[in-house]
Amino acid sequence: MSAYATLLFEKGDGVAQISLNRPHALNAYNIQMRDDFAEALAAVAEDGEIGALLITGQGRAFCAGADLSEFGAAPSQVIARQVRWQRDVWGQLNNLTKPVVTAVHGYCIGSGLEIALLSDLRLAAADTVFAMPEVHLGMIPAAGGSQTLPRNRNAAAALDLLLTGRRIGAEEALELGLITRITPRSELLGAAWDLALNLVNQSGAPAGLATNGRIGPAIKSALRGGLDLTLPEGLELERRLALINL
Protein backbone atom coordinates (compact mmCIF):
# COMPACT_ATOMS: atom_id res chain seq x y z
CA MET A 1 0.00 0.00 0.00
CA SER A 2 2.81 2.41 0.83
CA ALA A 3 5.49 3.52 -1.61
CA TYR A 4 7.68 5.07 1.07
CA ALA A 5 10.52 3.55 3.07
CA THR A 6 9.86 5.61 6.19
CA LEU A 7 6.16 6.48 5.99
CA LEU A 8 2.84 4.75 5.72
CA PHE A 9 0.51 6.59 3.39
CA GLU A 10 -3.16 5.89 2.92
CA LYS A 11 -6.27 7.77 2.00
CA GLY A 12 -9.96 7.27 2.40
CA ASP A 13 -13.14 9.33 2.77
CA GLY A 14 -11.31 12.48 1.70
CA VAL A 15 -8.60 12.15 4.34
CA ALA A 16 -4.95 11.25 3.77
CA GLN A 17 -3.01 9.71 6.62
CA ILE A 18 0.76 9.94 6.79
CA SER A 19 2.21 7.81 9.56
CA LEU A 20 5.87 8.13 10.50
CA ASN A 21 7.20 4.61 10.21
CA ARG A 22 10.63 4.03 11.70
CA PRO A 23 9.32 2.47 14.91
CA HIS A 24 12.66 0.78 15.73
CA ALA A 25 14.15 4.31 15.98
CA LEU A 26 11.11 5.88 17.70
CA ASN A 27 10.36 7.47 14.31
CA ALA A 28 13.47 9.65 14.49
CA TYR A 29 13.39 12.01 11.54
CA ASN A 30 16.16 11.24 9.07
CA ILE A 31 17.10 12.24 5.53
CA GLN A 32 15.09 9.45 3.92
CA MET A 33 12.06 10.49 5.98
CA ARG A 34 12.58 14.10 4.91
CA ASP A 35 12.52 13.06 1.25
CA ASP A 36 9.55 10.76 1.73
CA PHE A 37 7.68 13.42 3.70
CA ALA A 38 8.32 15.99 0.96
CA GLU A 39 6.93 13.65 -1.68
CA ALA A 40 3.93 12.65 0.40
CA LEU A 41 3.09 16.28 1.20
CA ALA A 42 3.30 17.18 -2.48
CA ALA A 43 0.92 14.32 -3.26
CA VAL A 44 -1.51 15.51 -0.58
CA ALA A 45 -1.38 19.09 -1.88
CA GLU A 46 -2.10 18.01 -5.46
CA ASP A 47 -4.75 15.36 -4.85
CA GLY A 48 -8.21 16.87 -5.33
CA GLU A 49 -9.83 13.98 -3.49
CA ILE A 50 -7.95 14.79 -0.30
CA GLY A 51 -9.52 17.44 1.91
CA ALA A 52 -7.53 17.01 5.10
CA LEU A 53 -4.29 15.44 6.26
CA LEU A 54 -3.79 13.33 9.37
CA ILE A 55 -0.24 12.83 10.67
CA THR A 56 0.49 10.02 13.14
CA GLY A 57 3.39 7.83 14.26
CA GLN A 58 3.76 4.05 14.21
CA GLY A 59 4.92 2.16 17.26
CA ARG A 60 5.73 3.43 20.77
CA ALA A 61 6.31 7.08 19.93
CA PHE A 62 5.13 9.77 17.56
CA CYS A 63 8.67 11.04 16.92
CA ALA A 64 11.73 11.23 19.17
CA GLY A 65 13.36 14.03 17.17
CA ALA A 66 15.93 14.22 14.42
CA ASP A 67 18.20 11.25 13.83
CA LEU A 68 21.49 12.78 14.96
CA SER A 69 23.52 10.02 13.38
CA GLU A 70 22.56 11.49 9.98
CA PHE A 71 22.10 15.18 10.60
CA GLY A 72 25.25 15.36 12.67
CA ALA A 73 27.61 15.46 9.72
CA ALA A 74 27.42 19.09 8.66
CA PRO A 75 28.54 20.04 5.16
CA SER A 76 29.64 23.63 4.57
CA GLN A 77 27.16 26.27 5.67
CA VAL A 78 26.67 27.34 2.07
CA ILE A 79 25.74 23.82 1.02
CA ALA A 80 23.61 23.26 4.12
CA ARG A 81 21.62 26.39 3.30
CA GLN A 82 21.25 25.38 -0.34
CA VAL A 83 19.98 21.92 0.67
CA ARG A 84 17.62 23.46 3.24
CA TRP A 85 15.77 25.43 0.58
CA GLN A 86 15.98 22.79 -2.14
CA ARG A 87 13.92 20.46 0.01
CA ASP A 88 11.79 22.85 2.05
CA VAL A 89 9.62 20.19 3.62
CA TRP A 90 8.65 22.43 6.55
CA GLY A 91 7.55 25.16 4.16
CA GLN A 92 5.47 22.55 2.33
CA LEU A 93 3.76 21.54 5.56
CA ASN A 94 3.29 25.13 6.69
CA ASN A 95 1.89 26.20 3.33
CA LEU A 96 -0.48 23.29 2.85
CA THR A 97 -3.91 24.87 2.41
CA LYS A 98 -5.71 21.72 3.55
CA PRO A 99 -6.20 21.44 7.29
CA VAL A 100 -3.76 19.15 9.09
CA VAL A 101 -4.56 17.08 12.18
CA THR A 102 -1.59 15.69 14.10
CA ALA A 103 -2.03 13.03 16.76
CA VAL A 104 0.98 12.42 19.00
CA HIS A 105 1.80 9.81 21.62
CA GLY A 106 4.76 8.46 23.55
CA TYR A 107 7.59 10.85 22.68
CA CYS A 108 6.99 14.08 20.83
CA ILE A 109 10.47 15.59 20.93
CA GLY A 110 12.30 18.19 18.85
CA SER A 111 11.28 17.91 15.21
CA GLY A 112 8.35 15.72 16.29
CA LEU A 113 6.94 18.61 18.30
CA GLU A 114 7.77 20.98 15.46
CA ILE A 115 5.72 18.87 13.01
CA ALA A 116 2.81 19.09 15.43
CA LEU A 117 3.23 22.85 15.82
CA LEU A 118 3.15 23.36 12.04
CA SER A 119 -0.20 21.59 11.86
CA ASP A 120 -3.65 22.94 12.70
CA LEU A 121 -5.40 20.58 15.12
CA ARG A 122 -3.13 18.84 17.60
CA LEU A 123 -4.18 16.14 19.98
CA ALA A 124 -2.09 13.98 22.26
CA ALA A 125 -2.37 10.73 24.14
CA ALA A 126 -2.30 11.31 27.88
CA ASP A 127 1.08 9.55 28.14
CA THR A 128 2.89 11.88 25.73
CA VAL A 129 6.20 13.50 26.72
CA PHE A 130 7.12 16.74 24.95
CA ALA A 131 10.48 18.53 24.83
CA MET A 132 12.57 20.87 22.70
CA PRO A 133 16.12 19.66 23.57
CA GLU A 134 18.12 21.34 20.76
CA VAL A 135 19.83 24.05 22.84
CA HIS A 136 21.21 21.38 25.15
CA LEU A 137 22.77 19.76 22.08
CA GLY A 138 24.37 23.01 20.95
CA MET A 139 21.67 23.69 18.33
CA ILE A 140 18.39 25.49 17.91
CA PRO A 141 15.21 24.07 16.37
CA ALA A 142 15.30 24.03 12.58
CA ALA A 143 11.75 23.07 11.68
CA GLY A 144 10.12 26.27 12.83
CA GLY A 145 10.00 25.59 16.57
CA SER A 146 11.50 28.94 17.58
CA GLN A 147 8.71 30.63 15.60
CA THR A 148 5.72 28.38 16.16
CA LEU A 149 6.24 27.91 19.92
CA PRO A 150 6.02 31.61 20.87
CA ARG A 151 3.05 32.11 18.54
CA ASN A 152 1.11 29.48 20.46
CA ARG A 153 1.52 31.09 23.87
CA ASN A 154 4.19 33.76 24.31
CA ALA A 155 7.93 34.32 24.03
CA ALA A 156 8.54 33.52 27.71
CA ALA A 157 6.84 30.13 27.51
CA ALA A 158 8.78 29.36 24.33
CA LEU A 159 12.10 30.30 25.93
CA ASP A 160 11.22 28.30 29.02
CA LEU A 161 11.05 25.14 26.89
CA LEU A 162 13.91 26.07 24.55
CA LEU A 163 16.44 27.19 27.15
CA THR A 164 15.82 24.44 29.69
CA GLY A 165 15.14 21.59 27.25
CA ARG A 166 12.87 20.23 29.98
CA ARG A 167 10.27 17.55 29.40
CA ILE A 168 6.61 18.31 29.92
CA GLY A 169 3.53 16.11 29.97
CA ALA A 170 0.28 16.38 28.05
CA GLU A 171 -1.47 18.49 30.72
CA GLU A 172 1.20 21.20 30.62
CA ALA A 173 1.31 21.03 26.83
CA LEU A 174 -2.43 21.70 26.89
CA GLU A 175 -2.00 24.66 29.25
CA LEU A 176 0.69 26.10 26.98
CA GLY A 177 -1.52 25.74 23.90
CA LEU A 178 0.79 23.26 22.18
CA ILE A 179 -2.14 20.86 21.91
CA THR A 180 -5.89 21.36 22.34
CA ARG A 181 -7.09 17.86 23.16
CA ILE A 182 -5.95 14.93 25.30
CA THR A 183 -7.30 11.41 24.90
CA PRO A 184 -6.46 8.05 26.43
CA ARG A 185 -3.80 6.30 24.35
CA SER A 186 -6.25 3.65 23.15
CA GLU A 187 -8.67 6.26 21.79
CA LEU A 188 -6.13 8.54 20.08
CA LEU A 189 -6.32 7.25 16.54
CA GLY A 190 -10.12 7.06 16.54
CA ALA A 191 -10.41 10.60 17.89
CA ALA A 192 -7.91 11.87 15.32
CA TRP A 193 -9.81 10.25 12.43
CA ASP A 194 -13.09 11.68 13.72
CA LEU A 195 -11.57 15.15 13.71
CA ALA A 196 -10.14 14.74 10.22
CA LEU A 197 -13.39 13.33 8.81
CA ASN A 198 -15.31 16.15 10.43
CA LEU A 199 -13.05 18.62 8.61
CA VAL A 200 -13.73 17.20 5.17
CA ASN A 201 -17.46 16.91 5.71
CA GLN A 202 -18.19 20.29 7.16
CA SER A 203 -19.24 21.86 3.87
CA GLY A 204 -21.95 19.23 3.70
CA ALA A 205 -20.58 17.76 0.49
CA PRO A 206 -20.36 13.99 0.29
CA ALA A 207 -16.97 12.52 0.98
CA GLY A 208 -14.72 11.81 -1.98
CA LEU A 209 -15.71 14.84 -4.06
CA ALA A 210 -13.15 17.40 -5.10
CA THR A 211 -15.29 20.18 -3.67
CA ASN A 212 -15.54 18.80 -0.16
CA GLY A 213 -13.87 20.43 2.79
CA ARG A 214 -13.97 23.84 1.12
CA ILE A 215 -14.56 25.63 4.41
CA GLY A 216 -11.60 24.13 6.27
CA PRO A 217 -8.93 25.55 3.96
CA ALA A 218 -10.70 28.92 3.88
CA ILE A 219 -10.83 29.16 7.66
CA LYS A 220 -7.21 28.05 7.83
CA SER A 221 -6.03 30.75 5.45
CA ALA A 222 -8.10 33.41 7.21
CA LEU A 223 -6.71 32.59 10.65
CA ARG A 224 -3.15 31.86 9.69
CA GLY A 225 -2.90 34.62 7.12
CA GLY A 226 -4.49 37.10 9.48
CA LEU A 227 -1.87 36.51 12.15
CA ASP A 228 0.72 38.12 9.89
CA LEU A 229 -1.47 41.13 9.06
CA THR A 230 -2.68 44.27 10.76
CA LEU A 231 -6.30 44.02 11.95
CA PRO A 232 -7.74 46.10 9.07
CA GLU A 233 -5.82 43.97 6.56
CA GLY A 234 -6.98 40.81 8.31
CA LEU A 235 -10.60 41.94 8.24
CA GLU A 236 -10.29 42.60 4.52
CA LEU A 237 -8.85 39.11 4.02
CA GLU A 238 -11.80 37.66 5.92
CA ARG A 239 -14.29 39.64 3.81
CA ARG A 240 -12.69 38.40 0.60
CA LEU A 241 -12.71 34.80 1.77
CA ALA A 242 -16.29 35.07 3.04
CA LEU A 243 -17.49 36.21 -0.40
CA ILE A 244 -16.01 33.09 -1.97
CA ASN A 245 -16.94 30.63 0.72
CA LEU A 246 -20.27 31.60 2.25
Binding site: V135, I140, P141, A155, A156, A157, G165, L227
Partner: protein
Protein backbone atom coordinates in the same frame (compact mmCIF):
# COMPACT_ATOMS: atom_id res chain seq x y z
CA UNK B 1 19.17 53.43 40.55
CA UNK B 2 18.18 53.58 36.88
CA UNK B 3 21.62 54.76 35.92
CA UNK B 4 23.29 52.04 37.99
CA UNK B 5 21.02 49.41 36.48
CA UNK B 6 21.86 50.46 32.93
CA UNK B 7 25.54 50.55 33.83
CA UNK B 8 25.33 47.01 35.27
CA UNK B 9 23.69 45.81 32.07
CA UNK B 10 26.45 47.46 30.04
CA UNK B 11 29.09 45.67 32.07
CA UNK B 12 27.29 42.34 31.76
CA UNK B 13 27.10 42.86 28.01
CA UNK B 14 30.87 43.34 27.85
CA UNK B 15 31.63 40.40 30.15
CA UNK B 16 32.32 37.38 27.97
CA UNK B 17 32.18 35.08 31.01
CA UNK B 18 28.57 35.99 31.84
CA UNK B 19 26.19 33.28 30.65
CA UNK B 20 22.98 34.30 32.38
CA UNK B 21 21.57 37.14 34.48
CA UNK B 22 19.22 37.01 37.45
CA UNK B 23 17.41 40.20 38.42
CA UNK B 24 15.78 40.22 41.85
CA UNK B 25 14.95 42.62 44.66
CA UNK B 26 16.27 43.01 48.21
CA UNK B 27 13.71 42.86 51.02
CA UNK B 28 10.06 41.90 50.74
CA UNK B 29 9.27 43.64 47.53
CA UNK B 30 10.65 43.32 44.00
CA UNK B 31 9.89 46.88 42.99
CA UNK B 32 6.76 48.98 43.24
CA UNK B 33 8.16 51.78 41.13
CA UNK B 34 6.49 54.57 43.04
CA UNK B 35 8.80 57.13 41.51
CA UNK B 36 6.49 58.06 38.70
CA UNK B 37 7.93 61.06 36.94
CA UNK B 38 5.53 63.97 37.21
CA UNK B 39 5.36 66.43 34.41
CA UNK B 40 7.46 69.34 35.65
CA UNK B 41 6.34 72.92 35.55
CA UNK B 42 9.01 73.64 32.99
CA UNK B 43 11.20 76.67 32.91
CA UNK B 44 9.47 77.91 29.81
CA UNK B 45 12.75 79.18 28.50
CA UNK B 46 15.07 77.09 26.36
CA UNK B 47 13.16 73.86 26.00
CA UNK B 48 9.48 73.08 26.30
CA UNK B 49 8.33 70.93 29.26
CA UNK B 50 7.63 67.99 26.92
CA UNK B 51 11.27 67.85 25.96
CA UNK B 52 12.29 67.97 29.61
CA UNK B 53 9.91 65.14 30.38
CA UNK B 54 11.22 63.11 27.48
CA UNK B 55 14.76 63.55 28.78
CA UNK B 56 13.75 62.69 32.33
CA UNK B 57 11.95 59.53 31.17
CA UNK B 58 14.89 58.33 29.16
CA UNK B 59 17.08 58.75 32.25
CA UNK B 60 14.64 56.63 34.26
CA UNK B 61 14.05 53.85 31.71
CA UNK B 62 15.75 50.52 32.41
CA UNK B 63 13.65 47.87 30.65
CA UNK B 64 15.36 48.14 27.27
CA UNK B 65 18.78 47.73 28.88
CA UNK B 66 17.65 44.37 30.26
CA UNK B 67 15.72 43.35 27.14
CA UNK B 68 18.70 44.07 24.89
CA UNK B 69 21.05 41.66 26.67
CA UNK B 70 21.80 38.72 24.40
CA UNK B 71 22.26 36.14 27.17
CA UNK B 72 19.27 34.54 28.95
CA UNK B 73 17.76 36.72 31.70
CA UNK B 74 15.74 35.47 34.67
CA UNK B 75 13.67 37.73 36.87
CA UNK B 76 13.16 36.36 40.39
CA UNK B 77 10.11 38.19 41.69
CA UNK B 78 10.71 37.99 45.41
CA UNK B 79 7.71 40.24 46.12
CA UNK B 80 5.31 42.72 44.58
CA UNK B 81 6.16 44.09 41.15
CA UNK B 82 3.91 47.04 40.45
CA UNK B 83 4.06 49.87 37.96
CA UNK B 84 7.61 50.46 36.80
CA UNK B 85 8.70 47.38 38.75
CA UNK B 86 6.47 45.19 36.57
CA UNK B 87 7.62 46.97 33.42
CA UNK B 88 11.19 46.04 34.30
CA UNK B 89 10.21 42.44 35.05
CA UNK B 90 8.46 42.16 31.67
CA UNK B 91 11.77 42.86 29.92
CA UNK B 92 13.37 39.62 31.19
CA UNK B 93 13.15 36.28 29.39
CA UNK B 94 11.69 34.12 32.18
CA UNK B 95 9.96 35.14 35.39
CA UNK B 96 9.81 33.10 38.56
CA UNK B 97 7.64 34.44 41.35
CA UNK B 98 7.43 33.99 45.10
CA UNK B 99 3.95 32.76 45.99
CA UNK B 100 2.92 35.89 47.97
CA UNK B 101 3.99 38.31 45.21
CA UNK B 102 1.40 40.45 43.43
CA UNK B 103 1.58 42.15 40.07
CA UNK B 104 0.00 45.19 38.49
CA UNK B 105 0.79 47.75 35.83
CA UNK B 106 -0.69 50.71 37.66
CA UNK B 107 -0.96 51.55 41.30
CA UNK B 108 -4.57 51.11 42.44
CA UNK B 109 -6.43 54.39 42.64
CA UNK B 110 -3.80 56.27 40.69
CA UNK B 111 -4.09 56.64 36.99
CA UNK B 112 -0.68 56.55 35.42
CA UNK B 113 0.58 55.99 31.95
CA UNK B 114 3.26 53.27 31.67
CA UNK B 115 6.51 54.64 30.28
CA UNK B 116 8.98 51.75 30.26
CA UNK B 117 7.51 49.32 27.75
CA UNK B 118 4.49 48.12 29.73
CA UNK B 119 1.86 48.93 27.10
CA UNK B 120 3.80 46.90 24.52
CA UNK B 121 5.33 43.99 26.44
CA UNK B 122 2.33 43.12 28.62
CA UNK B 123 -0.21 42.42 25.83
CA UNK B 124 2.40 40.43 23.92
CA UNK B 125 2.79 38.24 26.98
CA UNK B 126 -0.76 37.84 28.31
CA UNK B 127 -3.00 39.07 25.47
CA UNK B 128 -4.83 42.37 25.08
CA UNK B 129 -7.83 41.75 27.35
CA UNK B 130 -5.85 41.05 30.49
CA UNK B 131 -3.26 43.69 29.65
CA UNK B 132 -5.97 46.33 29.33
CA UNK B 133 -7.59 45.21 32.58
CA UNK B 134 -4.31 45.59 34.43
CA UNK B 135 -3.42 48.88 32.77
CA UNK B 136 -6.81 50.59 33.02
CA UNK B 137 -8.00 49.47 36.44
CA UNK B 138 -4.89 49.21 38.55
CA UNK B 139 -5.88 45.64 39.29
CA UNK B 140 -3.36 43.47 41.10
CA UNK B 141 -3.12 39.77 40.31
CA UNK B 142 -1.63 37.17 42.62
CA UNK B 143 1.12 34.76 41.66
CA UNK B 144 -1.21 31.85 40.88
CA UNK B 145 -3.23 34.02 38.49
CA UNK B 146 -0.02 35.38 36.97
CA UNK B 147 1.10 31.81 36.29
CA UNK B 148 -2.18 30.96 34.61
CA UNK B 149 -2.01 34.09 32.46
CA UNK B 150 1.55 33.39 31.36
CA UNK B 151 2.83 36.52 33.11
CA UNK B 152 5.25 34.37 35.13
CA UNK B 153 6.72 30.98 34.20
CA UNK B 154 7.05 29.51 37.68
CA UNK B 155 5.81 30.10 41.22
CA UNK B 156 7.79 28.97 44.27
CA UNK B 157 7.19 29.29 48.01
CA UNK B 158 8.88 32.50 49.16
CA UNK B 159 11.48 30.61 51.22
CA UNK B 160 12.49 28.53 48.22
CA UNK B 161 12.57 31.21 45.55
CA UNK B 162 16.33 31.66 45.43
CA UNK B 163 16.91 27.91 45.45
CA UNK B 164 14.39 27.41 42.61
CA UNK B 165 15.91 30.30 40.68
CA UNK B 166 19.41 28.87 41.06
CA UNK B 167 18.18 25.49 39.88
CA UNK B 168 16.54 27.01 36.81
CA UNK B 169 19.71 29.01 36.10
CA UNK B 170 21.86 25.87 36.36
CA UNK B 171 19.56 24.00 33.99
CA UNK B 172 19.81 26.77 31.41
CA UNK B 173 23.58 27.11 31.87
CA UNK B 174 23.96 23.39 31.10
CA UNK B 175 22.80 24.10 27.55
CA UNK B 176 24.97 25.42 24.75
CA UNK B 177 25.70 29.10 25.39
CA UNK B 178 25.80 30.15 21.74
CA UNK B 179 22.68 28.11 21.02
CA UNK B 180 20.90 29.73 23.97
CA UNK B 181 21.70 33.21 22.66
CA UNK B 182 20.59 32.25 19.14
CA UNK B 183 17.38 30.70 20.46
CA UNK B 184 16.67 33.94 22.31
CA UNK B 185 17.37 35.93 19.17
CA UNK B 186 15.19 33.67 17.00
CA UNK B 187 12.24 33.94 19.39
CA UNK B 188 12.65 37.64 20.15
CA UNK B 189 13.22 38.86 16.61
CA UNK B 190 10.88 36.31 15.08
CA UNK B 191 7.87 37.62 16.98
CA UNK B 192 8.14 40.90 15.05
CA UNK B 193 8.26 39.10 11.69
CA UNK B 194 5.74 37.25 9.59
CA UNK B 195 5.88 33.51 10.15
CA UNK B 196 7.50 33.01 6.74
CA UNK B 197 10.20 35.57 7.54
CA UNK B 198 10.67 34.07 11.00
CA UNK B 199 11.17 30.61 9.53
CA UNK B 200 13.94 32.00 7.31
CA UNK B 201 15.61 33.69 10.27
CA UNK B 202 15.54 30.44 12.25
CA UNK B 203 16.94 28.47 9.30
CA UNK B 204 19.83 30.91 8.87
CA UNK B 205 20.66 30.96 12.58
CA UNK B 206 20.52 27.17 12.81
CA UNK B 207 22.86 26.83 9.82
CA UNK B 208 25.33 29.34 11.29
CA UNK B 209 25.34 27.19 14.45
CA UNK B 210 26.38 24.14 12.42
CA UNK B 211 29.93 25.49 12.34
CA UNK B 212 30.28 25.68 16.14
CA UNK B 213 32.36 23.34 18.25
CA UNK B 214 29.45 23.31 20.71
CA UNK B 215 27.19 21.63 18.18
CA UNK B 216 29.78 18.93 17.47
CA UNK B 217 30.18 18.44 21.22
CA UNK B 218 26.40 18.33 21.74
CA UNK B 219 25.98 15.59 19.17
CA UNK B 220 29.03 13.65 20.37
CA UNK B 221 27.82 13.78 23.98
CA UNK B 222 24.39 12.55 22.91
CA UNK B 223 25.91 9.59 21.06
CA UNK B 224 28.24 8.79 23.94
CA UNK B 225 25.38 9.21 26.45
CA UNK B 226 27.31 11.66 28.64
CA UNK B 227 26.70 15.29 29.65
CA UNK B 228 28.09 17.78 27.13
CA UNK B 229 31.01 20.11 27.90
CA UNK B 230 30.27 23.28 25.97
CA UNK B 231 33.09 25.75 25.42
CA UNK B 232 30.90 28.55 24.08
CA UNK B 233 32.27 28.64 20.56
Amino acid sequence: MAEEFRDACRRIDEDEQAGLVVVTGAGDCFSVGRQSPERGAGTGQDEPPTEQLRARLSRLRVADALANLTIPTLVALNGDAIGHGLELALAGDLRIAAAPARFGLAEPGRSSFPWDGGTQRLPRLIGPAWALDLALTGRLVDAATALRLGLVNRVAPAAQLSEETARLAQTILAGGPVAARYAKEAVGQGMDLSLAQGLRLEADLSIILQSTADRAEGIASFREKRPPRFGGS
